[in-house]
Symmetry: C2
Subunit: 299 residues, 2 copies
């Protein structure tokens, strides 16, 4: 149940920062700050992997995709909901797939958006660390004391700051009496917590989820969080563009210090195969193209 390689001597273990370093190293090795989002749904996967047992289908599909994308990208993001919807059997598949991803040398982001009081967060952290995740996504609405147990367990965390769903502004874009928006206020909390968990590259293991379609506000968020890695979902299929990414990146940095981790899901995992091409070849090519595209964008 413990994730830290050494017993922690301080209230928060310093090892969370190693996750930031590992991610930076993985991006440097692959040359591009991208992440393939694994959101498997039965309706969208190729007929070739569909079985009577939905969990068998999800597993076959996800394992194939992992093998196909691993050569091209440094990281994958598992959408926990797609697995959890099948109950404990789905969670068992999720754990097996995370294990495979680790074996392939991929940095694993577990996108489960938990956010609870400290003691419950510590349980979620134990679960994520045992499963083999390197990073998790976390909600900060309860305050960032609910994020600290994840860091104490040796995990990096991306805190929800500004999301790309249609009604996200209803809370996140509200202006506080003191000036900043709720999202900017959350950004300040993230930056503050992140100071103590900076890796050798200067980037922090406490990052932020910032949707690709929020570039109008993203310049301000980058100013609030200069040393945070932005996990950026919504690129491609959801409408995020290269220009959006350019606004969010740390300028004049090599890819591994650009402070972004651009995530695409559907455009990669459901890439259309050409006549006679195996579906996994199409997935591999889409991953490679994504990596090249984003490498050029952050350059």
């Amino acid at each position: 149940m413990t994730a830290a390689p050494t017993a922690p001597t301080a209230p928060t273990s310093p090892t969370a920062s190693l996750q930031a370093d590992a991610l930076v190293a993985a991006i440097a090795a692959k040359g591009s700050p991208v992440c393939v989002g694994l959101d498997p749904t039965l309706e969208q996967m190729p007929a070739a992997v569909r079985r009577d047992d939905p969990c068998a289908s999800i597993e076959l599909f996800t394992r194939g995709v992992l093998d196909a994308v691993a050569p091209a990208v440094p990281a994958v993001k598992f959408q926990s909901a797609c697995f959890e919807r099948f109950g404990w059997r789905g969670v068992r598949v999720l754990e097996a797939c995370i294990n495979q991803a680790r074996g392939l040398g991929l940095v694993v982001v577990l996108d489960f958006k938990r956010g609870d009081i400290g003691i419950s967060s510590s349980h979620y952290a134990a679960a994520a660390a045992s499963a083999g995740a390197h990073f998790v996504t976390v909600s900060g609405y309860l305050g960032l004391s609910g994020v600290e147990p994840f860091l104490a367990a040796g995990l990096g965390a991306f805190v929800l700051v500004r999301t790309s769903n249609p009604d996200s502004s209803a809370v996140q874009s509200e202006k506080l009496a003191t000036g900043p928006t709720v999202a900017e206020h959350m950004a300040a909390l993230v930056k503050n917590l992140g100071e103590k968990h900076r890796g050798t590259s200067g980037l922090s293991a406490v990052g932020a989820v910032v949707g690709a379609t929020q570039s109008r506000e993203a310049g301000a968020l980058r100013a609030h969080m200069p040393d945070q890695i932005f996990l950026i979902p919504g690129y491609g299929a959801q409408g995020g563009t290269a220009e959006d990414i350019r606004i969010m990146r740390r300028a004049s940095q090599p890819p591994e210090k650009s402070g972004v981790l651009v995530t695409a899901s559907r455009s990669v995992i459901y890439a259309k195969a050409n006549e006679g091409q195996h579906w996994l070849e199409a997935v591999g090519t889409a991953a490679k193209n994504l990596a090249h595209e984003i490498r050029d964008v952050v350059a």
Copy 2:
């Protein structure tokens, strides 16, 4: 995977409101708006139920507690984190225990604090409905479009509004430029969404999580949410008092329309047995005492 008894014809199924009615009826039958929080941890449970396999311990303990409290209380709240920390085996135990709780006629609140964009929320909703939950706890930071899939799946939802952890004020008590706090703003969103999901009692299937220790702000929250059921954790062990509950309840109403569901966990499930008394007898007595206490508080 579908929870609604009839195929929905409107974008959101009307059946979520039935959950509010079922909870009201269960409270009326037991005479007190209380809920036992099931947060099993190995460290705190009696030696008698500890086994080598942690999941066997959690299951034995939780099943015993369910039997012991069912005669006295209308509802239980499962803290998902305590089960998830043991991976898929823990989730399997959770599902088995939820099934038992339903069989005992208890209203089941699944406290898993999920909050994601619509499509991911619909997966979480399918999981919760399949497992047999009647209500879930949900985060609204992404906007309440992420809450709607739970209602569409026929579940009631308690949205996180004001929590009782030490640093909860860091976000929730910030004042908006327009006047209300972030929590009050969230309350207004909850009230608005809840209008469409009102049961025959007038209470809505969209409720709010409001910590028992937040009574200083709770009067204002009640004014913002007159027809919401407040799920109130933190009574007893965490410091919430009878006076706190009095401020939060809808005044001059019978228990089932008091608009509160007061949750106690440790003070019930880890109740100390007297010399010669079986631990489950102590748990049953503590549940009965809690129910009487809260019945008198809301009267």
